[in-house]
Symmetry: none
Subunit: 223 residues, 2 copies
Amino acid sequence: MRILVVEDEHKIANSVKRGLEQESYAVDVAYTGSNGYDLASVEEYDLIILDRLLPEMDGIEIAKKLREQKIHTPILMLTAKGQVTDRVEGLDAGADDYLVKPFAFEELLARIRALTRRPKDSLGMILTVSDLMLNSANYEVKRSAKSIQLSSKEYALLEYLMRHPDQTLTKDQIISHVWNYDADVLPNTVEVYIGYLRNKIDKPFKNRPALIQTVRGFGYKIG
Amino acid sequence: MRILVVEDEHKIANSVKRGLEQESYAVDVAYTGSNGYDLASVEEYDLIILDRLLPEMDGIEIAKKLREQKIHTPILMLTAKGQVTDRVEGLDAGADDYLVKPFAFEELLARIRALTRRPKDSLGMILTVSDLMLNSANYEVKRSAKSIQLSSKEYALLEYLMRHPDQTLTKDQIISHVWNYDADVLPNTVEVYIGYLRNKIDKPFKNRPALIQTVRGFGYKIG
DNA sequence: GATTTTGCTGAGAAATAGCTGAAGATTAGC
DNA sequence: GCTAATCTTCAGCTATTTCTCAGCAAAATC
């Protein structure tokens, strides 16, 4: 699955590239509009992530030109928080979806999955680890058939862990996936949230094995 | 169920495609009239959604030609608000129904359901959740046999919720289904309408459980 | 066994989500 | 055109969530 990222802010471009590669997408990056446009017209991508505001040639224009060229690759447009009003303009130009910056990486992944629509996770994937179940259609979490109430950060963290079962994730990885790229939260915040999750999914089920495990010096894993 | 969408505005075409696929229709899109005509003559569809005004070959002409070819696939014609809604002309050409742009997605779905009329929902599907009943044939809503009067937005919102019982729907999802694609309403508007609905279907029935539930951080669900 | 590092946790300040009354805009009916 | 209903936004309020801090516990290192 090949993805082109057109974004002039290197920080964002690179963090998106790194994250997507970790999810085993093949990623090309263009830091300018014209560069991005050239790549998009020559190469074949499964998805194009396009910053709306770019020097030289902006996102709207690129989208419009690509559509004129009959290139119908799905386009995910990124817009800064202030510029929300122009939803219509962007969609007119041919974008398929919108994401407002700053976004959490997992949110980006969800949109990408929706746009490239792998049958597997269309509408409501159900993740399970042991007797813990997470249903992304209605954001419901259950353990041993008992419903568990989570806040949205807790939910995002749990989903990230459960999408990588038995794999140790460092606090840095967790931060860059669950929080948005310009929030800089302390590693301790992750510890705190792990604590919250344990209170809800491990502590009340003493007769069952604890699912969230600390891998001292490295991070956490579920499984 | 296969549907062909012939529409030159990518924005509309893509958002309709995405929405219908989520409802598990198989959707093909043609961005030009002649392209659409070719597809419609070769492939077998259960429904064709046709923009009335298209470059190259317009909707009326496509409909006429298809009918000449003895292709009787139901046709739903889209017309812009300003356009002379010459119902007669379109219906003469062979269209089975009309929808004026901009439309809300749920409205489109309702027409599609009417045209493809699966025996199941022939003449007005009736949705029920607990003791709440919605009859889409006559737009009547009742709870515990007591009739409830709703405005059209309230009705559209309730129908959307009831068609996805026990599933949490985000404010974004609600906005893009219940409002039309170029309306730019605030999330708070959804909150307000949820409030209106609660006043009418939950508050007056204190002895019964509340049906509309807030799922903090995610959205709302009914059930 | 003392020291350092790493992780856990209770408490609290700051930020945010959701609810609601009210008021301005828009639309439909007459 | 006028009026009434409906639609939408706004501002203020409350409860929850988010995040940091500081002190403690456990493990690793010396």
